[in-house]
């Protein structure tokens, strides 16, 4: 069966791609090759690179950038935006509920065990009020379009420290630098104001009584794979980029060490996982955190974004319940689909999964980054056998889903232009209201037939256009 192609259907080029397609035909392959080389050079000079996790030599790689944009027509974006808003609202209400009244458990919508024995649940956060009641200020919600029916599905909700927004912004800047004419012929929704929205959102959660909050970005340091993004966002917002060792806690207030002496910090946009935030409370071996931060946070003297403990809502074992959350908290029907999910902790679901391994995707409940998963249709018999053994040994560690045949978008490859599978990560900002810029980061699996778009596994990116 043909896979949903973002640019073409059986009648030819889709209307919202027509102008681009005519432009592309006029360019010629030599000019495009030159532009690709130029883009590589520019990315390297600007230093838009990522370090490979676990590689201590500090090797820096470019994320391959594809020159053919992924275009979303206005009506589809309107649907996505409404669905994303709804989802972010429900997830934040769920987090508040989990750490307060637990209504959703009492109503038997989600089993208590799924929440309160989850490693991502933080008992330290129980009954702590966070500003505005908002936990996930920044959410990166991964969306795919099914290659068969063309419908959108939410693949996962990233509510801890989602990354990638800097690539969304830099990709747009690069396209505008290389092909300014494209932006004259099509009306493309701008994205460059994202850092302003982010700063405004961060300022909105300042501790009570702070009028002009000092916002900082907390990074694990320059060897972290997303370091470029941390510096980029700090610079774009005009705030300090700090490491754990730049901060200290005194009398439950957080200060940063400056050349003029200590200066109070009010809001920390932290790009460090919960476990590493405070060596006194969590991992004692963490050199990335700030001793005493948790106590200051619980006392309400400093705000964290995202809040501590958001991981309990984006865990793959909670994911199947998000549509129920939407109905429970908002009284609305979910706008965006969840991918049907079998929870292997349930005997029936496990039996089904074991019987259908060659057609399913099986994921670790706490996994991320495309690691530790089985893609049935792409796996060898031996790989499936090995995975079956792991699955039987720890069923509750896994969920399974049908293999979505992701939609594809034309992409430059060695042999010319060919369709490659893509996904989409829009960034949803929740403060006093829910806001987002149109579009998001489109990732593309550059290997033919591959469904894995993660940059750590050979994925690339594209500019994402929402047409106005």
């Amino acid at each position: 069966m043909p896979v949903h192609d973002e640019m073409r259907d059986e009648r030819g080029v889709r209307p919202y791609y027509e102008r681009f397609q005519r432009w592309l035909e006029r360019q010629g392959s030599e000019r495009m090759a030159r532009k690709r080389a130029e883009a590589d050079l520019l990315f390297r000079r600007v230093g838009i690179t990522f370090a490979v996790n676990g590689d201590l030599s500090g090797t820096e790689r470019l994320i391959p950038f594809d020159l053919i944009p992924r275009i979303i027509p206005a009506d589809e974006w309107a649907l996505l935006e409404a669905g994303l808003r709804q989802r972010a609202q429900a997830l934040n209400l769920f987090l508040h509920d989990v750490y307060h009244e637990r209504n959703i458990v009492r109503a038997d919508v989600i089993p208590a065990q799924q929440i309160y024995t989850n490693a991502q649940y933080r008992p330290e956060m129980q009954d702590i009020d966070v500003p505005l009641g908002v936990y996930a200020l920044v959410a990166g919600i991964d969306i795919v379009r099914d290659g068969r029916d063309g419908a959108f599905y939410v693949l996962e909700d990233n509510l801890r420290v989602p990354s990638g927004v800097s690539y969304m912004l830099e990709n747009r800047k690069m396209m505008m630098r290389l092909f300014p004419d494209l932006f004259v012929q099509d009306r493309i929704a701008p994205v460059a104001h994202y850092p302003d929205l982010l700063l405004d959102t961060l300022r909105s959660v300042a501790p009570a009584g702070v009028d002009d909050p000092n916002v900082v970005v907390l990074t694990p340091g320059m060897y972290n794979s997303a370091y470029f993004e941390h510096t980029f966002l700090a610079q774009q917002m005009g705030v300090e980029l700090v490491e754990g060792k730049d901060l200290f806690v005194e009398d439950n207030y957080v200060f940063m060490r400056t050349t003029q002496g200590p200066r109070r910090v009010d809001v920390i946009y932290r790009r460090v996982d919960d476990d590493y935030l405070d060596p006194l409370a969590f991992r004692a071996d963490s050199a990335l955190g700030v001793p005493g931060l948790l106590t200051a946070y619980r006392a309400g003297r400093v705000s964290l974004s995202n809040a501590m403990g958001t991981g309990v809502a984006d865990d793959k074992s909670i994911y199947p319940y998000v549509p129920d959350m939407i109905r429970f908290y908002l009284g609305e029907a979910p706008i965006l689909n969840n991918v049907p999910t079998w929870q292997c902790r349930k005997p029936d679901d496990l039996a089904y999964t074991l019987a259908h391994l060659p057609e399913l995707v099986v994921k670790e409940v706490h996994g991320a980054g495309g690691y530790g998963m089985l893609v049935g249709p792409a796996a060898t018999r031996d790989e499936i056998g090995a995975f079956r053994a792991r699955l039987i040994a720890r069923p509750s560690n896994y969920i399974s889903q049908p293999t979505l045949s992701l939609s594809a978008c034309p992409t430059f490859v060695d042999a010319g232009i060919a369709p490659r599978h893509i996904d989409l990560r829009p960034f949803v900002l929740s403060g006093r209201t829910v806001r987002m810029v149109a579009g998001g980061l489109t990732r593309v699996a550059l290997k033919e037939g591959s469904l894995i778009v993660n940059s750590s596994q050979g994925g690339g990116t594209k500019d994402t256009w929402v047409l106005e």
Binding site: G47, F232, R257, G261
Partner: protein, 317 residues
């Protein structure tokens, strides 16, 4: 500004300036080769160059023979030598990367691109084929990053800390470049060494290496003598690479960075500057130029430590 940020800016500037001055020092040495000299004096010259950079033991540990090719490679391209041009440009870039958000985009791209080009294949072969062109290039990139900084950066603490690093390193490096010859003179009383002092070509190449030959002509309108070279490079306030001008730069930027805790470091810098401002050239020569420069270097080192403890150190605990 964060102490850590200031620290990275300070060292980024110091490494860039050091790369430039190493290129300048090597350039004189290269030009000397074009003059007739005994192989014995060539080896002495190479050794003096290493000694002045305090790199003699590190060189001997890695290389058997004191050949020009070995010394050049050691000072330019060896990653194991923390003072090689390679290491300096890398360290400048890594420090810049750690605070790239503080730098303007053009400024960061210049520092990053300098490193990428130097480490890339084009520049790699140039050391053996056209070392003079390579040294010119290093100097030029240092000029470029300074120009981009002055032309684009906000005039705030970030700029002042960067300039502080530049001037402190320049004071140190000019003193060392000048000392290359005096270290030989003070340590041997042979007449051949003394005669070298009179060597017109040597002194003109020293002047050339710190871009001071035309300045010399303009200031003195007379023949090149060692005493005047020393005066120009140590005491002339208008000569941008002189010790006094460098100390002026240090003091100006320290004043812009004044805090409640900076009194002591300003005092140290101000005193050193005042001593240069009112120094007597005859007295420097009677003390011995090498002795004078050695004391100066020790005091610049101490000043650097004081800058670090005043502004840059992260308190422990």
């Amino acid at each position: 500004m964060l102490s850590r940020t200031a620290d990275h800016l300070f060292w980024m500037a110091r490494y860039m300036e050091r790369a430039e001055n190493t290129a300048r020092m090597l350039d004189i040495n290269l030009k000397e080769r074009l003059l007739p000299a005994s192989s014995d004096s060539e080896a002495r010259g190479l050794r003096a160059m290493l000694r002045i950079s305090e790199l003699e033991p590190a060189f001997d540990a890695r290389h058997e023979a004191m050949t020009r090719a070995n010394v050049l490679h050691f000072l330019v391209a060896e990653p194991d030598n923390p003072s090689s041009i390679y290491s300096c440009l890398h360290a400048a870039r890594e420090n810049a990367r750690a605070v790239r958000g503080t730098l303007t985009t053009e400024w960061w791209e210049t520092v990053n691109d300098t490193w990428l080009q130097f480490a890339g294949p084009l520049r790699g072969d140039e050391l053996s084929a056209h070392p003079d062109a390579l040294f010119e290039w290093v100097k030029f990139r240092s000029h470029l990053s300074r120009g981009v900084m002055l032309g684009t950066a906000l005039q705030d603490d970030a700029l002042f800390f960067t300039q502080l690093g530049t001037f402190l390193e320049r004071a140190d490096n000019t003193a060392r470049i000048l000392d290359v010859r005096f270290v030989e003179v003070d340590q041997s009383d042979s007449r051949s060494a003394a005669r070298q002092l009179e060597d017109f070509y040597y002194w003109t190449s020293i002047l050339g290496s710190v871009s001071a030959l035309e300045i010399y002509r303009k200031v003195y309108r007379d023949v090149v003598t060692p005493a005047r070279v020393v005066e120009l490079l140590i005491l002339n306030q208008q000569m941008p690479r002189s010790l006094l001008a460098s100390l002026d730069g240090v003091c100006t930027n320290l004043a812009l960075l004044r805090t409640d805790a900076s009194r002591e470091v300003e005092r140290t810098a101000g005193k050193l500057r005042a001593e240069l401002l009112y120094a007597d050239l005859r007295q420097i020569f009677s003390t011995g130029v090498h002795t004078f420069l050695t004391q100066f270097l020790a005091r610049v080192y101490e000043l650097g430590n004081q800058v670090a403890s005043t502004y840059l150190m992260l308190p422990v605990g």
